[in-house]
Symmetry: C2
Subunit: 512 residues, 2 copies
């Protein structure tokens, strides 16, 4: 079980099939593998040893895919950089992982220069693209042209294949260590469902390649013999154009992207008849978007994945039939994937009764090796082989998993559990509420009290009492916020998540 | 990746679906898992510790499936006994693997008594069935009734899960050590093709459960959520009846069994419309049987697997489309499976050019841990992660593998390689030849010479010169046998394989 294994099979079985399509540039698997082997040789010539970490910061491209394969081909370790992170977060992760070689594309030359100045351990920067760059940087195409292809150097499937940094919004960033076997297990498990990939199809990489999800998708679609069509990043118009031009069969999107596609003014002008599969993840789909998607694409199969980086990343899958079932299960996270086991447990690791909320845990060959150089953080989440996701959820009587919240966003007030997501959903139902966040605040009487931070719509008004009364029409009384702050804006992370930790701190400091 | 993982998913997702159907007896997954957990508890009560070996000798049954799951559930090691072996071979394998507990069904009580007398290390024999048995044996159902179910004790996916003894016909029997991950990898790889299993179908276990193939099929069909329908062993009429009665969707057969099914006088009387899939292995299918099968079952998908016990057991798969392609590739062994890499190499491990014969090697998560207590034998076949199959074959330009012979049956004569299978095929084309075997004999001039041992048809006559002349009309002169022995019968193994090793020895002793 190695990440590079599908390349060998492709070379043996369909060397002349298109491997990558990036704009006007197409390469066959024969050409792709040749370039991967040359890049691996180039990395070797720059002193990369087995187990060394090699980072890349860039938008999606065929070169990015070459990086994702050449590093394991050289038996080194991938460190794809999240381009949405702040410079300081990126620098911290590169220093933490002791990266000596960084690839940077045209879009990140300026950032690359700044990072290099702050990472003394960085020996070489390789520039991918045709734009200007500092003189001492190495040109990617020149490196490939000057390097001889090397043999695939991979050793054991249990060797470290990649470090994905995660959790920048909730504390010190952690490097998730994934082995080759971890990644291939998730991909094989998805493929084994029969509904995840279209054999001999064309998969569009529109979600960021620096996310683990894309690497898992790379592997799953490569197992299916698929061509990789690449756009620099998600842009609804560009995705629509590319699907039409290259007869794309398979998409992976987050629900917001699906909505942007079907909402796009030019949507109706495109021939999208090649599409066979929409897979999505990261969040459940809204009823409205799901219904429109099903109507607009009566023959397209929808699949959803739930998981996290630490699970390589797939724990559960929701199949196409359930998406079209009309039942509430279509908004669940699906069921344990073929490679995965999933349970919902209490704090002692005991199974919760069906329908009752607890922490979601998963076990199998897809569970990470651990956090890089953070044994305590690893021990906190990996117990008896079970990855503790920190997500709260419940199971129904046929194993469908419903994710309700993050465990740490659960509020315990007067002995009752309140899930902030539930209260937020109720608040969003009030016409004056533009956005909101619900957190637990220390309380002498109740242990914690339910506290809401609310942004009102421009021109709208509502008092704390009105909002409380509104919530009580929908939920049990103890779930209604005991205190409400009105603010102009909520603190957000670069990835668009509300920073609840900061919210708690600010609120506590203000004494509100 | 554990063998027992599908049981947990079944219990969570479809506990009331039929797990096993054995004659008139049906059990749901809830009942099946309960019995597995009880049997594991029973084994524990008999002193079975993690890693201990537990053997079974029996025909196919739902109890056999319980044994196959309860032993890994107790974190012990399976040693399924090949019932076709001689008593002495079985005793040798049980002593070699230090088995202390043996399960025996009604069909093997007598053998079990004899084995027990010769295996002093055997502490307990458990009797499965309703027939007579020695008083000191433990009754299977009583053990289950008296034992409390225990938790699944499995630890690591890399732990030893099973020992399968192999190679009794070619020297000292070797215990092939397979891990949980080995077995699940092969199963996931088969499932990932999309053509190997019918989701939510019914699989008929008609090939022997003591073969590794059945355990891999158990796992693959369990990943697909399938019900296991069980017959004691292959019997054409019984298989036809069972398919009809239980609406079986998936079969695994060897080609001879397919032929016996379609040749059976009652074939036309059965409603076989539930069948969706015929998978087969062990040998290629003959053109005549393939063509008839395709005609008789226009909607059935055919799949073939090639591999060996040491590959858990699947290395390559031939898909349904190729079976119906009309090309010569339908008689190939297919292409590297999703989990597997396959090459054809010379004695130095260098790839042979396409179309040229060399040794077939395979690499991936499905490659065995090694041979039990035989590190030299392991080192001889496992090099740089590649399992050397001992099979000779070649690849075509799209990765289709053609298996031509066993490497050790290759004759090197005057510097030329001759594959015995090729010469045997030519000899079979002569009307007087009933059966034959071709071996290499030491020769002062040529190093080895091509030697044929022939059984003539009753009443037919042919001289060595006539046969030699016949072969020369079909093959290069150096491939024609330089010497021919005429015998009444060829020495055969219990499994119906010609014992070439014995043939060489006999011939050499005779000085023929």
């Amino acid at each position: 079980m190695y990440l590079t294994q599908p390349l060998h099979r492709a070379l043996q079985q369909y060397p002349d099939r298109a491997a990558t399509i990036d704009g006007a540039r197409q390469r066959t698997f024969r050409e792709h593998v040749e370039r991967v082997a040359r890049l691996a040789g180039g990395l070797r010539s720059l002193g990369v040893q087995p187990g060394d970490r090699v980072a890349m910061m860039g938008r999606n491209s065929d070169s990015y895919l070459e990086y994702l394969m050449a590093v394991p081909w050289a038996d080194a370790v991938l460190v794809p950089v999240n381009t949405r992170w702040s410079e300081i977060e990126v620098v911290d992760s590169l220093i933490d992982s002791e990266v000596e070689i960084l690839l940077v594309d045209d879009a990140y030359v300026e950032t690359g220069v700044a990072i290099q100045a702050r990472c003394p351990g960085l020996r070489h920067v390789i520039h991918v693209g045709s734009g200007d760059h500092p003189e001492q940087w190495i040109d990617y195409e020149t490196l490939l042209a000057d390097s001889a292809p090397v043999e695939d150097a991979r050793r054991s499937g249990d060797a470290l294949a990649a470090l994905f940094y995660t959790g920048g919004t909730t504390g010190r960033a952690k490097g998730v260590m994934l082995s080759h076997a971890n990644l291939v297990t998730s991909a094989l498990g998805c493929a084994a469902t029969g509904f995840w990939t279209t054999p001999n199809g064309r998969f569009l990489h529109s979600a960021p390649m620096f996310h683990l999800a894309d690497l898992c998708l790379w592997a799953a679609h490569s197992l299916a013999g698929n061509t990789h069509v690449i756009v620099p990043g998600f842009d609804a118009r560009r995705v629509l154009d590319t699907v039409e031009e290259h007869r794309v069969t398979d998409l992976f999107l987050v629900p917001t992207m699906i909505q942007m596609l079907i909402d796009h003014p030019s949507f109706g002008d495109h021939d999208l008849s090649s599409l066979k599969r929409f897979n999505y993840g990261a969040s459940p789909i809204s009823p409205e978007v799901l219904d429109r998607t099903l109507r607009l694409f009566p023959d397209v199969e929808l699949g959803q994945a739930y998981g996290m980086t630490e699970l390589s990343p797939v724990a559960t899958l929701l199949d196409p039939e359930t998406h079209r079932s009309g039942t509430s299960r279509r908004f669940s996270a699906g069921r344990a994937a073929p490679h995965s086991e999933v349970r919902v447990v209490d704090v002692d690791g005991v199974d919760m009764p069906l329908g009752e909320v607890g922490e979601i845990v998963s076990r199998g060959g897809h569970v990470m090796l651990g956090y890089w150089k953070q044994p305590e953080a690893t021990a906190a989440v990996l117990r008896d082989g079970w990855m503790h996701t920190g997500d709260a959820g419940y199971l129904d009587d046929e194993g469908y998993l419903f994710v309700v919240d993050r465990i740490k966003d659960m509020i315990v007030t007067g002995g009752e559990n309140v899930y902030s997501a539930e209260v937020e959903k109720a608040l969003y139902g009030h016409p004056a509420v533009e956005s909101c966040a619900v957190v637990g605040m220390p309380d002498q009487t109740y242990g914690e009290r339910v506290h809401a931070v609310v942004v009102l719509r421009p021109g709208a008004t509502a008092t704390a009492d009105e909002l409380r009364a509104h919530v009580k029409t929908l939920l049990a009384g103890y779930k209604a916020p005991r205190s409400v702050d009105f603010v102009d804006a909520l603190p957000m992370s670069g990835a668009g998540k509300i920073l609840k930790r900061r919210l708690r701190r600010t609120t506590a400091t203000n004494g509100a």
